[in-house]
Amino acid sequence: MPVLSVRDLSIDYTTRKGPVHAVRDVSFELEQSETLAIIGESGSGKTTLAVGLIRLSPRGTKVTSGEILYTKKGLTTDVRTLDDDDLREYRWAEAAMVFQAALNSFNPVISIWEQFNDTARAHGMKDSRRVRDRADELLDLVHLDAKRVLPAFPHELSGGMKQRVLIALALMLEPQLVILDEPTTALDILTQRSIIDLLKQLRERLGFSMIFISHDLSIAAELADRMITMYAGRVVEEANVDDMFYRPRHPYSVGLLRAVPRVSGALGSVASIPGSPPDLMRLPKGCSYAPRCPYAIDECRAADPPLIPVDTPRHQAACIRWKHVAEVLGSNAEVPVAEKLA
């Protein structure tokens, strides 16, 4: 039984010039203790999707269709139908979210302790001594000194410390699901490394499921079990992490993997994807990637291709040319794309 099952989710937001289809017919499932990476560039709809999962979308955003099914102890509910009180409980107690801007995720005028206490009280933990014990325990878990951190104000902590505090806060109510939006983007390399290692450790110890949203493929390579690539609001490929990195079948995944150089190993044939992402208000007819795709044929421009199983049932791609892509990439060896194309 998956923890989270998203079906045909579509999210629009309204602008002066008309509706923007930010997320289009997105479906995926997340198993217990699984880590799913959602990869995409700016404008791909990944952040809209992430906040949509806990119904925290900003003004002017509307879920136009689909279901977000959340399962706990065999009971399944659609997050879209929760009333205000249940939604408040679902947020954080069931699904906690660590934001991209961890640096700005704390109220600047109240202490870290008050923000812990606020969160606890919102979920019925009224005994502040017990909250204090729990906060100490959590901060210890993320290797921070509670005595120093709790009385501090946010501006007194470094970026890495804030990110750790936020992760500690996310685990306070032992949620089944933790959503992380660009969890390490603004951090330095060594800090980023320690956060990645910390997340791995915590996941192993506590067994929660994780969804993280990033434009950074290397974080996915580190942490993910499964991966989704998004382009122009759609899922264009879904696969386990090895298939995605070594046997991608959608030309956009191929292009993205090839666009990222590495520090270790051969450099291979690194190259950018030509062109730029489409205007979400004026999507091209057919496959929205076709204008940038080196393998596109006339048929690609006729209809938006559906997500279909390729290679294995658990590997899907929205491309009618996936067999051609497989041929171009050649052997299925565990070799990165840039080297295969070199």
Binding site: R91, W92, N104, N107, P108, D118, A122, G160
Partner: protein, 364 residues
């Protein structure tokens, strides 16, 4: 980005002793104190210059007047001596000594004597009227601030709703009508045309037969007499608070920490007060202090219209009677009052915002 780039000054200049004032100016709390002292000094000096040094200055005018009214029995020197006493300045001393003794007297709250009721100290005149103005202005201001930020918060939360439109349009309408015109309109319609309010019974700060004291009757009477000025101060300020709070709230609502607080499942009430409201109200605290200065000045015309015996009415009377020591005294004391209010606001601000006045940055 290195954090260092943010700092613009070179080390060299920081060591320069001539930069001490500059450095103090950059530190919020010392800056507030320096600013307060400077402001008082500037105003007093300005009044000294205006009264003593301008061509055809009040001192010269007074001397001429004294000679004329005495039908020549006073010599210029005698008249000058009398004027010296009236202005509490020794007019025969060199200018810098006059200035120093003026400041010295000021430090002892000696502002000279009124021209008209000789023997009455300016200080005692002001002490008799200032409390009434402070009471009415303060009440009006605090009421408008409280109600205004409440309505502004509400309007921002219900953005684009009917309530928002009514409140923000109403606020912007009422704040663009000058307060003295509001007062005239009030007299015109409530009093003269519709006979709803008996304005004549409300003149003065309290009814003539009343025994001052902390009795319910007296307090009620005070509020009765002050009700019109308070209403005007309230109405003329509330629009400003509504609009400022509305826009401050709208930007606070877009802050990441508000979204993050929602994601943590915090109750709407807690988010509205501690997360949105508190951050939105911070910049308004500084404005509160500045508006104190504005209203105290505006009180002159309001008090005249309603015949309310405050410092503004006294100032206007002094102006028509050319009672310059009183004018000077009122200008200085009002400035001191306003400066103290500003200082209080600055200190309050640094208490409310932990980012100010605390050494920043644990390392990590």
């Amino acid at each position: 980005m290195t954090t260092a780039v943010a700092a613009k000054d070179q080390v060299r200049t920081a060591m320069d002793p001539r930069r001490y004032l500059g450095d103090a100016w950059r530190r919020p709390i010392s800056r507030a104190v320096v600013k307060a002292l400077l402001t008082i000094w500037v105003t007093t000096t300005l009044t000294f210059v205006l009264i003593r040094l301008m061509p055809g200055s009040p001192v010269e005018l007074k001397i001429d007047e004294l000679i004329q009214t005495s039908n020549g029995s006073l010599s210029y020197e005698d008249a000058k001596a009398i004027a010296s006493g009236l202005f509490a300045i020794n007019l025969n001393a060199p200018l810098h000594e006059q200035y120093l003794s003026f400041i010295w007297n000021l430090l002892h709250l000696d502002l000279g004597n009124s021209f008209l009721s000789s023997g009455t100290g300016v200080t005692s005149i002001i002490v008799a009227v200032l409390p009434w103005t402070l009471f009415s202005v303060g009440t009006g201001l605090l009421l408008s601030f409280g109600v205004g930020i409440g309505l502004g918060l509400l309007a921002a939360y219900r953005r684009d709703s009917l309530l928002d439109r009514v409140v923000s349009t109403g606020g912007s309408l009422i704040s663009s009508i000058p307060n003295y015109l509001l007062a005239l309109l009030m007299i015109l319609f409530l009093g003269v045309q519709w006979h709803l309010v008996n304005f004549t019974s409300m003149r003065g700060a309290y009814s003539s037969g009343m025994q001052p004291g902390f009795t319910p009757a007296f307090i009620g009477d005070i509020f009765y007499h002050a009700s019109l000025p308070i209403t005007i101060y309230f109405l003329s300020q509330i629009g400003h608070w509504i609009l400022s709070m509305r826009s401050a709230t709208l930007s606070a609502l877009e802050e990441d920490y508000v979204t993050a607080a929602r994601a943590r499942g915090l109750s709407d009430g807690r988010i509205r007060t501690a997360y949105v409201g508190r951050n939105a109200v911070l910049p308004l605290v500084t404005q509160l202090a500045i508006s104190v200065g504005f209203i105290v000045g505006g009180a002159a015309v309001i008090e005249q219209i309603f015949a309310y015996q405050g410092v503004g009415l006294r100032l206007l009377a002094a102006v028509t009677q050319r009672d310059y020591p009183v004018i000077q005294g009122i200008v200085i004391l009002t400035t001191v009052t306003v400066v103290v209010a500003n200082l209080a606001a600055d200190l309050l601000y640094s208490k409310l915002d932990p980012r100010i006045g605390r050494a920043g940055g644990a390392t990590g």
